[in-house]
Amino acid sequence: MNREITLRVNNRAETIQIDDAETLLEVLRDRLKLWSVRESCGVGACGSCTVLLDGHPVSSCFLLAARAGSCEITTLEGLGDGFKLDSIQEAFVEQRALQCAYCTPGFVLSVKALLDETPNPTDEEIREYLAGNLCRCAGYADILRAVRAAQEKRSGTVTRS
């Protein structure tokens, strides 16, 4: 069945025709050209397609777009303002927490949700929260450092170069 839905993505309202069977990933990528949303495993295990629904991380690869109409959707494109990076993105760059960067948008959004929920997470909380985001370049140590750096940037206690 076809239907018209209005998705609120990155503070913009987008009204489009979709099929009920389209996933949110397909709509965000193929229709709205938000290329940061990436498919990898396709079953919610890897985190490449992470987006935030009302601030909470979800896998867009198996969410039906037709069910997302009532939510505020945030993709990586919604974090910076186009000129300046978000502090979490800055921390990832500064800590070199990326190699091929395929997984990075998912990680950055997951870290945002984590720090919004828990501003001062323990190491265990960080590891547990990010356990479902896979990085096949194995940059985990750098990513954990980036989370700490982002946390410091956010709390404004330490400025790292």
């Binding site: 396709g42 909470h56 896998s59 690869c61």
Partner: protein, 287 residues
């Protein structure tokens, strides 16, 4: 598009949802969080021309405190249960069981009702819910009925729900005074994988003796399993001899089968190990 086209039906009430199921019968399937159904449809392992979306019915995702327990709506997400202060305080083992599933995104999406109605034999929530004596509310053409979770699981992916019935909520009674519960999961593959085996226990003690012991296992049979016949433990001292007798009873009731996460032989040994661990932990935790 990866998924074959279908119609998403969005009823506004339970009555309307049941009417849709009556109308479309085997062509329709109920959609909860979608973590299993949508993925299976995406992989083209399943197809239904109609999905009946329960998310469009208001109020099905509430977690409510009642006089004698907590009622968890079918559409409450795993994450809601995991982080609910009420559940964490009253049923820490249950919050823990939900908190171990998949990853934070899956838990944000998967529904409690979907987990139970899916009736997979090795999921985490059924054993602690069985040990806690939970019951589910079903709603169908003839109205509501209550089904004790012990009678709910009928076979692999089969439940006591009629084809036109919906799972509305699960009620978890508060533990008896002096009660304590535990859930131990053993994963043979990665930490966030389905468990090879899950063991839930509830122990009520009175003056150092057992007043009530309940055990339930996941992954140890074709359905989540409540262990029967432990009434004799009442007023007994919990010593190694008691634990041995309990293990013998568990041994006769489980019927594990070999799968990707372990052979039958292995699961039988793991079941002994983890039931023992669960009982000892329940016993030692109490002063």
């Amino acid at each position: 598009m990866t998924i074959r086209s279908f119609d998403l039906l969005q009823p506004k009430s339970l009555q309307e949802a049941v009417q849709l199921l009556q109308k479309h019968r085997e062509e329709a399937r109920v959609l909860g969080g979608g973590t299993t159904l949508v993925i299976l449809m995406k992989q083209r392992a399943l197809h239904y021309p109609y999905l009946v979306d329960l998310q469009s019915i208001p109020g099905l995702d509430e977690i409510k405190r009642e006089a004698d327990g907590v009622r968890i709506g079918a559409l409450a997400t795993h994450r809601m249960v995991e982080t609910s202060p009420l559940i964490r305080q009253a049923f820490p083992a249950l919050a823990q069981a939900f908190g171990h599933i998949g990853n934070v995104r899956v838990r944000q999406t998967a529904s409690v009702g979907g987990n139970l109605a899916h009736a997979d034999y090795r999921l985490d929530p059924p054993p602690p819910l069985l040990a806690l004596g939970a019951e589910v509310t079903a709603f169908g053409p003839k109205g509501s009925r209550t089904i004790p979770l012990r009678n709910f699981f009928r076979g692999m992916y089969e439940t006591a729900l009629e084809p036109e019935e919906l799972l509305v909520d699960v009620k978890v009674p508060f533990m008896p005074a002096g009660g304590r519960s535990v859930y131990l999961r053993y994963t043979a593959l990665s930490a966030n994988d389905w468990p090879c085996l899950g063991v839930a226990g509830l122990l009520v003690k009175d003056h150092g003796r057992c007043k009530e012991l309940r055990l339930a296992l996941g992954g140890a049979a074709a359905t989540p399993l409540f262990i029967d016949g432990l009434e004799w433990t009442r007023d007994q001292v919990i010593d190694p001899a008691l634990v041995d007798r309990v293990l013998e009873i568990v041994e006769t009731q489980i019927s594990p089968f070999s799968d990707l996460r372990g052979s039958e032989w292995y699961k039988r040994r793991m079941a002994r190990l983890f039931v023992k661990k669960a009982v000892e932990q329940l016993n030692s935790d109490q002063q």
